[in-house]
Symmetry: D3
């Protein structure tokens, strides 16, 4: 089975840059996947695609060396298993607020005896075995990266118990929702001390357990800061924001001449 | 019938900024259409969508005040008529190299007696009549903007005859193909004197006939220059380029911290 | 943020006509949205579309002044949040039978501190902000209309407790399922006294709480009756029924001449 | 090969009612196909679907006994052959104005030696052979119904020569475009004597040659009239018009109570 | 309502061959449905389609006499009801491990008073009523085939209680997951005694209750064995495996000549 | 620019096995592309996909080392250029019957000065440049493989003139259509001497010009024969046939036990 490049990267002490796809468009995903990110996440939660387009996007990402990852719309076994069968090599699960939810997430994603993922890895074997032997059933539990998203007060309270979930690879912090949950406006680079301290605390606890600390950002500046703080993986701006910001900048620059 | 906002704009001596959509994605088109462009062109020639997605994109653009325009894949009556029925308020036709081709283009897009467009404006009437009376059949020939693309040697030779085509509203210059045709690399802001002089000549002839002079550019800087030269409408960078450039810039900026 | 036109309408003491879309087709939705309804509901429960087509339909409805609404397939946070992010300005949730289910529905649809909706309103901001400032995060809890559907015995028993759910805007009665639940055939204009009395009782309790009383009907005659009874919003026949009835009527009328 | 039900019907001296699908939606096509029409035409010219949706609609129609027919966007061999391979049992070709165009249409649709249709009837064999032997290659030239659309002045002038095209089964009159071509407004039930006389003349010439005389109408009243005049096949209103008219009627009826 | 052909078949003491579709493609489903299977199952669990493609596949299967069946991605009322509304005449529910889960599955699929399926059988009535009267609401509970999938240790322990669920028609054994659950590799024709004995035990208990015993296989050889053991319905290899095996065999056979 | 693997292969004196995709399904294409073929052709002529699905299939094929090729529906510049922009590395054009048609095909596919392909290689650059520098504009004319299909009497008569077309890489023989054209049944492995001699003659003339001789077959046995005769590239059975034959074989084998 193809080794998970993000696991290899992080195992070597390096950091990883993650892209974030919200447009329901396999061509956009292929464009993004060619820009040098280490992984590309198809976001089925706040992104505008559902399963079939997500699978087409996983195919598009698989034309490159970037590792294909998904964020599921919800902690629900049906969609978790479908996306793994479709070839996702990493999964971010939103709103994991309790150890029970973390366990349910992991259980849906790991084959017995670690969990109860149902067997039938349709497209996954083509991606997984392209570079090595046909051992998906035996290796998938080890290669697939599972990150639980921490973004509520309850999750902060339960972070130790969540980190203790066997089979979980790490935590992914959503600063926007976490800010809202703590009574602050939903920023990707929060300035409120309450929020920034929570982020640091979760990162440190995650590192202390030897797990992957990952976080959403609003771009390279914040990402550089997060890496310095100790995060292993940072997501940059999503495609929707990249596109709208770039378009607006061009319109504004061109309008100057029209007045 | 809703007045064509680009025709109104240009009639008032103003200039127009045009967006260029190559991603087969109605959500991307809606994002683009909300950034302040005067018109949005769905490119079915080099863009990656075909008819049904193009219609979805026309619907998305129609949620805004930007004028919905298309570039057809080829000068073929079937697709020209389908896109007009789908609500395109402007059409750019690629590779119009002779007066016969210009006439064929116009004929497919104008109802009798000006042309031979077949009657059946399905979605078009909803967009057209939203702000005024039900007179699509009577007004469409006047409101729809038709631009012939000049991008070959043959077209340069025939530019006067093409400009004489009744029912044609203007010319759209494709600097990339024109450069290739003149033996230069395909740049959107050509530096070869041969090419720049050709561009200027076409623009001047078009203005002299009182028609619309439009051009593709590589962004706001070139667009500002083109407006100063006398062009009425400029297209900025397409969504694919906006997205890939913005993503690459973020990756490069974030990588600095990783070394 | 754009004011919710249905909330404004009902706030002024007027009544509202709602369209019902079951065909998975954005063009059909745009046609319907242009016929003068106050709102258009995309039905993901018994309708034949899933998320991506529903979003295309929301875009199509957004080309008009009709308010875009959805009925979700089930009371499940993942799909509720996705549809709100896609720009739904109202949500009908089927089979809300208990105060706990009502609370779960509302919690998924309201941002903290009212609920736990996750932040990431992709397309929603384009629709919401087109006519006013960028305050979606702050205003969404107030503008989005949430209606719980009452259609089982258990729901009838719990109607007071359901109506007491903070953040819920009103109730939507499904006469078909309610009839079945009470042992009657599934009619949209039930004649059984048991059912009609239940409908009246729910409407009166809803009005007494100052909330929105809404109901499904089988067309204008029943809708007029419901408005007289005190309902605020009535849905007319869905597109599938409109289409099949109209087609069958034409075939029958044309067949006369063939015998 | 399954016998063409429309050819059988007309061979027996009966008349045929044809449905007209413009919505790009296989579910809508299945609904329509269940209402008792003799044939269902998927309109790729003014309808809003392209090839793949048209094939899905052909599949939906094939769940019923109604004969699946298409109107192509244009007289172009590529799309003609693709739709025949997809299982169309009848084809209407728009804008056939000359015997050369009629010949080109027929040639693309008939296998050698009658024409030059390329062999590869993918889905067609499943529909064709469901009720009888595997003889598509041998029987298709005989079973497929080919109708050339007459709708311009030039076509009127050439009607005799067009009717003389070997392999053509009949003519289909488009009263809307024919009216426009003759300087009249585009009505489906024209009142101008110029137009009505032209329609009668084409019908009579077609019957005189023993071919199928078919016509578009605006509903059952006009269709009954056309059958009395001698037409064999009439199309009733399309799905878009059925849907919009029915919806508008319901809104108007319901609004009475609101004032 | 059309009688369920599989129920009729099994009622007559015959056995049934079931096809298994994992490709998200209505054309592939139509091809499969024409090969002589008694039923065709659209697999939304490990297959690569979601709701809308599944409905298109149900339409494609409905052009034949094969009974259209689905496997749902998960035991979730929303998708169960949507697929029944789309015309599924049989449902296999994965991972039914307890009587409570079996009850929940059945409840979502049966109308009151047997269950709480919501009423709105959109497409289902067209398929169901094509051959007989309009009595879907009254007959659906009797005609729809419901099979619970047994594939975990917990399910083996609870098999008697699951079989006692009113409204359940039978059990479907998944040998792959069952093998994994019992510590064996995931084979469709398991050789481990532990697994084979479990399969036999479940089949015998099912037959003893007079219910349908169904099972997944790896092809005709295993299926013949299962029928001899007493199974009523066997699924053969899915389309993905048929396609990949056949392609690989051709490549291998052709490569011989190249060396 | 990535070197064309088929051109490299043939340049080295090896032969090539080509797969043939007719199902409109990117997952099916990815499955096929993983079975060891040297190239995979997406057939837009007799296959059931149009542009957007074809592009998704090109993406799917690009996850493997098989060379992505297309057959266009017709010799029409619009679709030829769109598919090249989408990343096709080879093109088969059907029904090339004259040197003028061959020239028109080549002209649409080669950039100036060799032809008049319009510049805008959207997705193509990602596939082309993944393994080397950004020189698509300069190298595409050399790397893209262009094959003209010979399948009519007229083409046989013109084969020398067609072979003389500058920029054409070879000929692809369609034995089915060629047989029909010569008055024989459409077989992929024709036995009529008239046809087999024609096939041999075309192959020999092609080899004599140093061009690629390619042919459609009905599987490995015929392909082995063709390679021995001197053909460079053979297509095996398409996915539709592989699937239907494999399914039917399983049903037949399983039915034995049921009697």
């Amino acid at each position: 089975m193809r080794a998970n490049p993000i696991k290899e990267l992080l195992g070597n002490g390096a950091t990883a840059l993650n892209a974030w796809c919200s447009l329901p468009c396999a061509y956009a995903a292929e464009i993004i996947a060619n820009q040098g990110y280490d992984s590309v996440t198809i976001d089925l939660q706040h992104g505008a695609m559902h399963f079939e387009t997500a699978m087409a996007m996983l195919q598009a990402v698989s034309t490159t060396n970037a590792m294909p990852m998904v964020r599921v719309p919800w902690n629900e076994p049906g969609i978790l298993m479908k996306l793994l069968d479709a070839g996702a090599y990493g999964v971010i699960c939103p709103m994991v607020n309790s150890p029970a939810q973390a366990q349910s997430f992991v259980e849906a994603c790991r084959y017995p005896p670690m969990g109860s993922r149902s067997y039938g890895p349709g497209r996954a074997v083509y991606y997984a075995n392209a570079q090595s032997g046909r051992d998906y059933a035996a290796q998938a539990n080890k290669q697939i990266l599972l990150l639980a998203q921490i973004e509520t007060k309850q999750a902060l309270d339960n972070v130790d118990a969540i980190l203790a979930t066997p089979g979980l690879d790490g935590l992914y912090i959503g600063p926007g929702d976490l800010s809202l949950a703590l009574g602050e406006p939903p920023l990707m680079n929060p300035t409120s001390q309450l929020v920034t301290e929570a982020i640091t605390r979760v990162m440190q606890k995650t590192r202390a357990k030897g797990l992957v600390a990952a976080v959403h950002t609003d771009g390279p500046k914040t990402a550089r800061m997060r890496f310095k703080e100790g995060f292993h993986l940072c997501s940059l701006q999503n495609d929707v924001r990249l596109l709208s910001d770039a378009a607006q900048a061009q319109v504004n620059a061109a309008r100057c001449s029209q007045s």
